[in-house]
């Protein structure tokens, strides 16, 4: 009991809970900002009303989501100091800089232009208003990059030296921190996964409406946009994941071995589909494996040697002194599989959808539909799915909304717990990072407060999202179709109500 509630354990749980929760909103924010911007661009360029209605609809969902992302992000910025003060002292010279950059460059950008976008419909000319949402999109991507560079430094510290006298790590090469391959591949992987998430969100909601034959014109457009996003982003997520895996194999062999429950080094090393093992004794009792695949994933070569958990543990004991350098193996093993499984499932569903809803060139005449009709789902050359199977595709496509969210969460759980016992790999252990002056009662209080607050807000948020999802795209007003020509709004009628107000 005492151990289970040690301040370090509590602080770790709090970090896990608040971070995974925060990251439910982050990828949706990143991708929906860009997708909404894309829809609005289509409106500005074509002046087709369906694009404006879609912009308003997805923009609303985006705003409900980003509100949560912003407020839960504040906790992230401060909990390093609150719960991890020794970490902050040790790494602040390096880790603080990307965080400050993120705030100065990205947060200001996002928050200012989102305000302009929300309230700017009747205050800004069309093109300037459109530019605002693109600015928001750029802000979200920059923000992701800086924080991932900071996280990458924890995975693979570079560009630093240790100052023994002051007992801290000091920055020697900021450029290396920003551009090391860990940061680049992690940013690539996270951003592509973010677009997979937003694409699946769009597919799911569009499918929900199309299954009910509602808002067909807008939802067909966004189904297509969503499907294309899912397929491209899904493919890139797999490629970037492979790159990141190879980087990880070189930089954190323990994490790779744990992800595979590969206890002892093998040449060639197999990829494990299922394993059940004994952590105490350090071996698997059951394992179903594909020979050689892990060697290929790690090193691009089906016959390469991959070190096992026991080997790396021994090597680290020799290097860093006695201790257990193994992370939680089952969490790493299953986290890795849930991440890939759910991510790729949504990719497959997207790919299937893109084929099933393909357009006229590839369809016989009798299966083509007009602009206001739900597309037939055509599996084979001349035949649409029947009335039994079609609803199932729409249903599965709706569920796929949740898949990348689950995959993202497990991805982070995997990469963060897989690095344990280190907080900065090979440099600082998590147990040496907590705040020595913060009491058990204090951490417990804050963990309970955040967890309950987040739970309540989750209910509020999901209900609100559901309400707006079900309502569908709004009817357009006169004001929507006649945007102002001057900055600050046209002055025809001084008492005209604002187009948007809180």
């Amino acid at each position: 009991m005492e151990l289970a509630l040690a301040p370090e354990t509590l602080a770790r749980w709090q970090f896990g809970i608040t971070t995974v929760y925060h990251f439910l909103f982050v990828p949706l924010t990143i991708s929906l900002a860009a997708l909404t911007a894309g829809l609005q661009t289509a409106w500005v360029r074509t002046e087709k009303e369906k694009y404006l209605r879609a912009t308003k609809f997805w923009g609303k969902l985006f705003l409900i989501n980003i509100a949560m992302g912003v407020v839960t992000g504040i906790v992230q910025e401060f909990q390093f100091g609150m719960n991890w003060s020794d970490y902050s002292r040790f790494v602040g010279d390096i880790f603080g800089a990307p965080l400050a950059f993120e705030a100065l460059i990205a947060f200001f950008f996002e928050s200012t232009f989102i305000g302009l976008w929300i309230f700017g419909w009747d205050k800004l000319p069309k093109k300037i208003h459109l530019a605002c949402i693109w600015m928001v999109s750029i802000g979200t991507i920059l923000s992701a990059y800086f924080i991932l560079a900071a996280n990458s430094w924890m995975q693979h510290p570079v560009g630093y030296k240790i100052d023994k006298a002051r007992g801290r790590a000091e920055l020697t090469d900021f450029w290396a921190v920003l551009t090391q391959n860990t940061a680049l591949s992690q940013a690539f992987h996270t951003l592509t996964a973010a677009f997979l998430t937003g694409g699946a969100f769009m597919v799911g909601i569009s499918a929900y409406h199309l299954a009910r034959k509602k808002h067909i014109r807008e939802m067909k457009t966004t189904l297509r946009l969503g499907l294309i996003t899912v397929v491209i982003a899904g493919m890139l997520t797999a490629i970037s994941g492979d790159t990141l895996g190879k980087v990880m194999y070189k930089q954190q062999p323990m994490k790779m071995a744990s992800a595979e429950a590969l206890w002892d080094g093998q040449k060639p090393a197999p990829f494990s589909i299922f394993a059940y093992g004994n952590v105490e004794k350090g071996h698997n009792t059951v394992a179903i494996e594909i020979p050689g695949l892990l060697s290929f994933l790690a090193d691009d070569n089906f016959t390469s040697y991959v070190p096992g958990i026991n080997d790396v543990n021994k090597a680290e004991q020799q290097k860093f002194g006695p201790g257990d350098y193994r992370p939680n193996i089952p969490v790493a093993f299953w986290g890795f599989r849930w991440m890939i499984g759910f991510g790729m499932a949504s990719f497959a569903i997207g790919l299937a959808g893109l084929w099933l809803t393909r357009k006229k060139f590839m369809l016989p005449r009798h299966l083509r539909v007009g602009e206001d009709e739900v597309p037939h789902l055509v599996l084979f050359k001349n035949q649409a799915l029947g009335s039994k199977l079609s609803p199932w595709y729409w249903r599965i496509a709706t569920w796929t909304m949740a898949f990348p969210l689950i995959a993202n969460s497990w991805g982070w759980i995997f990469t963060e717990t897989g690095r344990q016992p280190w907080v900065v790999y090979g440099v600082l252990q998590t147990r040496d990072a907590v705040s020595p002056g913060v009491s058990q009662a204090e951490v417990l209080t804050s963990m309970i407060v955040f967890t309950s607050l987040y739970a309540i807000l989750a209910v509020v948020e999901v209900k609100l999202l559901a309400k707006y999802i079900k309502a569908g795209p709004p009817e357009l007003t006169e004001a929507d179709l006649n945007p102002p020509t001057k900055i600050g709004g046209d002055t025809r009628d001084a008492d005209k109500p604002m187009a948007f107000s809180y």
Binding site: F78, G81, A103, L116
Partner: protein
Amino acid sequence: MHLHDVWFVLIAVLWTGYFFLEGFDFGIGILTKLLARDRPERRVLINTIGPVWDGNEVWLLTAGGATFAAFPDWYATLFSGFYLPLLVILVCLIVRGVAFEYRAKRPEENWQRNWEHAIFWTSLIPAFLWGVAFGNIVRGVKIDQHFEYVGSVWDLLNPYALLGGLVTLTLFTFHGAVFTALKTVGHIRVRARKLALRVGLVAAVVALAFLLWTQAHSGNGRSLVALIAAVAALVAALAANQAGREGWSFALSGLTIVAAVAMLFLSLFPNVMPSTLNADWSLTVTNASSTPYTLKIMTWCAAIATPLVMLYQGWTYWVFRKRIGTQHIADIAH
């Protein structure tokens, strides 16, 4: 001037920006109960800051991030030491942000009223607690030789710090009232001016007492100048408010905040968190700072980004320069 001195100034600037901007945001939140008489008036108030509150809050995140990067030990000691008050502030900021965004998203009376209560309390509590926090930073707290805060949460609630809390609370409310007078039309504008006078007088008394106490306890020549500037600006803001010069009044109430924060930081320097246990254990700009290399990179970033931020944030205020009245608020909830 060393880079760590530059960063001391820059962090003071970031906090000043935060208190100047979120100061009137907090004030607006408090006025939703103090000034607004019905829902349309509450909505007028909320909408005066609608497009800008989020950007204003980023000044806090930047102050936090910059402290982490430039003075890691200051960040570590402050945030782990002031744990529970900070937890309360964080909870308030979370609820407050959601309240602004979600309040108008459902038409139900209950829903809107609950979020309005939330906006009031989550504005009032941080407005008070930031003053308490800064009171403690300037006065000094129990810090041991390892830079760890060893006092309790009750030590933070001492009379001097609580008085500091009252200063920020009243000053921000005043700042918000003056902002309301500048940004609204109709009855609410007239009443905002009247309320500004009353709140401003209370703020003047409390602020004078707190700043004199600060001057006596940890002041110096430069802080005295800032003190005089703060008091003079507050008196002038009140006078401008009485004369109906709303723009001037707002600029001067802002100047009051600038000068008051400047005074606190001038009294603090070269410490960043003095120890009341042993002067040698105080955190200073030298023993708490990052390396010159990190500070140099950060200086470049700040030198380029800060003016840009001020430029585009300033532009936002210009875009939304029109005054708002109840007639501008559409009936239907969005």
